[in-house]
Amino acid sequence: MVLDNTILLGIRLISPELILICTGLFLLLLDILIKRKETVAFAGLIGIFLSIWVNLKLSSLGLSGNVFSGMFVFDRYGSFFKLIFYITAILTILISLRYLTIQKGGIGEYYALILFATAGMMFMASASDLIVLYLGLELMALSTYILTGILRGQIRSNEAAIKYFLLGAFSSAILLYGISLTYGLTGTTNINEIASSLQALNLLKSPMLFLGLIFFIVAFGFKIALVPFHMWAPDVYEGAPTSITAFMSVGPKAAGFAVFGRVFFEAFGSLHLEWSGILITLSILTMAIGSILAIQQTNLKRMLAYSSISHAGYAILGIISATPEGVSGMMNYLLIYTFMNIGAFAVLIMLNSEGVRGEELSDYEGLAKTHPLASFIMLIFMFSLTGIPPTAGFMAKFYLFMAAIKAGYMPIVIVAVIFSVVSAFFYLRVVMYMYMKEPKGEVALSTSGSLNLALIITAAVTLLIGIFPSVFLEIAKASVGGL
């Protein structure tokens, strides 16, 4: 077969992913030659920036379309999610360097695996075929399982990795079951063709399709930690290295939302009434369980795990409303959430030093007296996660809830606002501990250039978007058009 234009176009359109994978392979080799892990991390960052540059170049050329026999689609919806993945990968690498040295887990494969996971997420966001979607998901998931267990000397890291792997394998099996049922009914795995064949074969009332739909919700719900598929999240988030917890709570979650949107709007768009009913129930459960259980937590990593569960409950409102405003509100929400959540974890990492985990609430007592700047930055993230103006978190929630109200989901928005208020309790408790209590002892901060850079970026974006909210939203709005 000759290398014709369609194949060349295909290779051009997947070049951002190819660059990431090649950089990952290169890092594996570099790790053997170079002892300094910072150099490996730096090479990884260069690869990511190269990939971003190529991605922007492709977008500016106006290239788009289905390639590889309709399996891969390069569109603005996917590109927006890829932006989130890039930011997640860059910030994760920045906050990892010092932390891994302290935890004695600094190995070069770490950075390669982050790149592979990012490439997997990008394939998910761009998949227009269920097979590519599944393989992208598996690439992302396998890399994150390994990253979760990468601190081999620590028993809780091992435990988290095994739990995550076992439950993740189940969710993959359920996803495959859903895919096979859909394939059996429609005779295709292509997301667009599924939609047309559902109409053509008059399958919309088929109970088997409904079962397939439920399997999809279960599998994707596992990835974004919707209640009742959230059981793994607190344990895994607590046991994983903090930098990977930051990565997991943002990247794979956003990827889960990307495929949620892609599959449910494009393939099952005509079944909106059926799946939105299920999702509304799950969303309310998620917000409730996430917020209420977070109150009891004294370990900050666990608290942020529950908080990340409840945030998934808010963000799913965008999928439920299924309007362009709703989806752009959700994408905007996820992008802002990326900054504020990784920022909060970066503060946690800063308090982590030799022998001190810096994860317990009591570690934060009187932090404002000893380290005013660090506590102020934490204050910004906690306000933003609660949704207090003028931080970005408020704007994210505001646009999302407005869009949901416009789409006619007033009651569930009221529930969401109530649980936002509940969530204020545990976010502001951290602030209270920092500012109202007397310091117990000297807390050493382990700062480093890259960690500071990550903190500056996340804090600045969280504040700036709160003041100039329309920047991200405009990009998000422009990105929904393709869907």
Partner: protein, 170 residues
């Protein structure tokens, strides 16, 4: 009539074998029953005119994966394993969920009336080229992207095995 009899035989035997796999006390017995199970599943593939898949099923599953299972079992303490109870407190819940799903599936499957349009690879088309050639052609043209992503997935799995199992890093 003959196909139905064959299918009924394989369906019943596969179900019985699956139950045997999970109820044996000795893990080695479980693995041997699984071997027989895999051979029967391979027979089902032949039934569907997919002789290549049947061969792969035997080579990969019965050949490679089961050997791995046996290796892992060799590392376990079988004496202790045999004394422990096979089913823990949750099994009535499992039976309940299982029964629910069986009923659910029977209800759903009995309602199916539409069948999807068939693809271009009919039995005649496959037989004229041979099933290996057909799969190879599809895999390297239409499905080249998933095929390549799968290779990266396998690479990551190997990296994981090395990273998690290599000697302690100082």
């Amino acid at each position: 009539m003959l196909p139905q009899i064959f299918f009924a035989y394989f369906a019943v035997v596969i179900t019985v074998l699956s139950i045997l796999v999970i109820t044996r006390k000795n893990p080695v017995h479980s693995v041997i029953w699984m071997l027989v199970l895999f051979v029967h599943i391979a027979a089902l593939y032949i039934f569907l005119n997919a002789e290549f898949l049947a061969a792969i099923q035997i080579i990969v599953y019965a050949g490679a994966i089961l050997v791995l299972f046996l290796f892992v079992i060799m590392l376990l303490n079988l004496k202790k394993e045999e004394q422990e109870r096979k089913f823990h407190g949750y099994w009535p819940l499992g039976v309940l969920a299982g029964t629910f799903f069986i009923v659910f599936f029977i209800l759903i499957l009995s309602k199916i009336s539409v069948f999807p349009k068939l693809g271009p690879y009919s039995i005649q088309a496959i037989q004229s080229e041979g099933s290996i050639m057909t799969i190879g052609k599809v895999l390297y043209t239409d499905y080249i992207l998933p095929f390549e992503i799968a290779s990266i997935v396998l690479l990551v799995a190997i990296i994981g095995a090395v990273v998690l199992a290599k000697k302690r890093i100082e």
